[in-house]
Symmetry: C2
Subunit: 335 residues, 2 copies
Amino acid sequence: MRIAIDGMGGDRAPGVIVEGAVAAAREFGEDIIIVGDEYSIGLELKKYKPSPSNITVKHAPTVVEMHEAATASIRRKKDSSINVGVELMKKGEADAFISAGNTGAVVCSAVFNLGLLPGIERPGIAVVFPTLFGFSLLIDVGANINPTSEHLLQYAVMGDSYSKYILNKPNPTVGLLNVGAEETKGTDFVKQSRSLLKESGLNFIGNVEGRDIFTGKTDVIVCDGFVGNVVLKVSESLADAIKTLLKNELTKSKITKFGAFLSKSAFKALAKETDYSEYGGAPLLGLNGRCFISHGRSSAKAIKNAIRVAAEFMSHRINEHITEGIKRYSAERKE
Amino acid sequence: MRIAIDGMGGDRAPGVIVEGAVAAAREFGEDIIIVGDEYSIGLELKKYKPSPSNITVKHAPTVVEMHEAATASIRRKKDSSINVGVELMKKGEADAFISAGNTGAVVCSAVFNLGLLPGIERPGIAVVFPTLFGFSLLIDVGANINPTSEHLLQYAVMGDSYSKYILNKPNPTVGLLNVGAEETKGTDFVKQSRSLLKESGLNFIGNVEGRDIFTGKTDVIVCDGFVGNVVLKVSESLADAIKTLLKNELTKSKITKFGAFLSKSAFKALAKETDYSEYGGAPLLGLNGRCFISHGRSSAKAIKNAIRVAAEFMSHRINEHITEGIKRYSAERKE
């Protein structure tokens, strides 16, 4: 497999990207193409001796910055690392593309260049996150902030396939994010989505509330991209805030510091248990291709794992499963 | 002041409600009317000797259960503790009403019986929550899941008044919850709300993202009730999940247990810093009256503080400030 990665995307690019790519090249043996400024990527690569022979660099002279409009990738900056990377897939020179850069620009370039799978009207970004009982999947977290109920149904089908084959859940449960568990609750949009999901043949368990997300009540949670984006960012920053406050308190006295030292292994275990970098890249599902969005703050480990997940996505033929799923559920609904 | 409280609402009613009411009656000296089943409230009251003379009981034979429809309070169960409590205010026999019961039923009964302030089209539930730097206010967290941009503007004005006089912030900043900081981001609804807020004369700082909520970037965050409800519930459950996971890890070995024991004061300080019970009741703002919604899991301390906040709401004449605010900002917009 040939996996392209945006060498310029993310807070600590290209250093961390190259580090993760080298680790993946050594561990998984995939062919990796790092896309971006040849010179600075080359400098980073030189740090690794011997530099893995299964890594190549594809030059792209510009970068879509984080504050730029999503359309920059397909208008002013067609020669950006994002657009050049996506085009590699279009030309059949890469099987997947990963970027920790401007999410909107990745979505825009990917949809424009690759198009969508049959039966899919909008792509969705799916994020795997830790719960009290293993990992769950939230879709969509921001590709589509104004979806229809049909889009939500498509997200559910896509989330089902991803959960089955990447998260190894044979019959994933699907929940619809709402303000209450009862059928009468929610906006018209949510109620309509609920009816569609109920008839879909998926393992739909009904509405789930914000409080159910981290208990692991359901394997797949479907929501519009506005709410999903807010949920993702709130959760991340709340976890960070709790960490910061706890650290401040723990370092206030010598006794609490010593206590924290003794409890170190517990904190480490917790960090590991809740380590989202295990699934380092969020797939842009529904795409006629394979694109993964990594966190801007990704570590080298997260990048390495994103490459692993991209390879699994390919070998488990997720897109074919999605296409079959869409066909099957549409057929069932027509019966 | 005469403050009515729903004796039957909440997971541990009437015990915890009576306990909080007794503490408030002793500490603040307000007249408190506990509404609900006379017999069971009486049994609880007997536990306190001497039972404070400024507590009376108003009998209400039924209870709106948590799973019941919001309209139950004004249809089948007009004699419920919620509706009887709200009616006390309508008849001028109470100045405020607090309930830890069915939120929808409280909103429904309050709007039906008391109506709204001039210029307010929908009430909003405002929640005070801890951040890295003090407390902030989120409005709306579920009274209105399908608001217009005008409603959001009204929420901003109400949040501004509440922040000024209850949270003691002289010139509170107001942010609009969105998926990105840039003006171009968000749904049409959010963009339109942004324009209204920009012209409002409020101390509006623009869009804020999910990640800004817990950093305390802004004093008031305005959003639709669907998103707000999800944010509130996600945050609560994530904080609980982290606590649970950490506790599990800390109790796994004798060393980590001992470490946790030494660090106890840090955990306690953190718990205190993030103790939402300090502002025990979420006001239903915009109401031509004073209603407060307490968490179903409220402790006696939270109930006591809700009574304190209700009294402050009254003495700081929040409703008059809201009415003035609405007039002022409407006038400024017309100029």
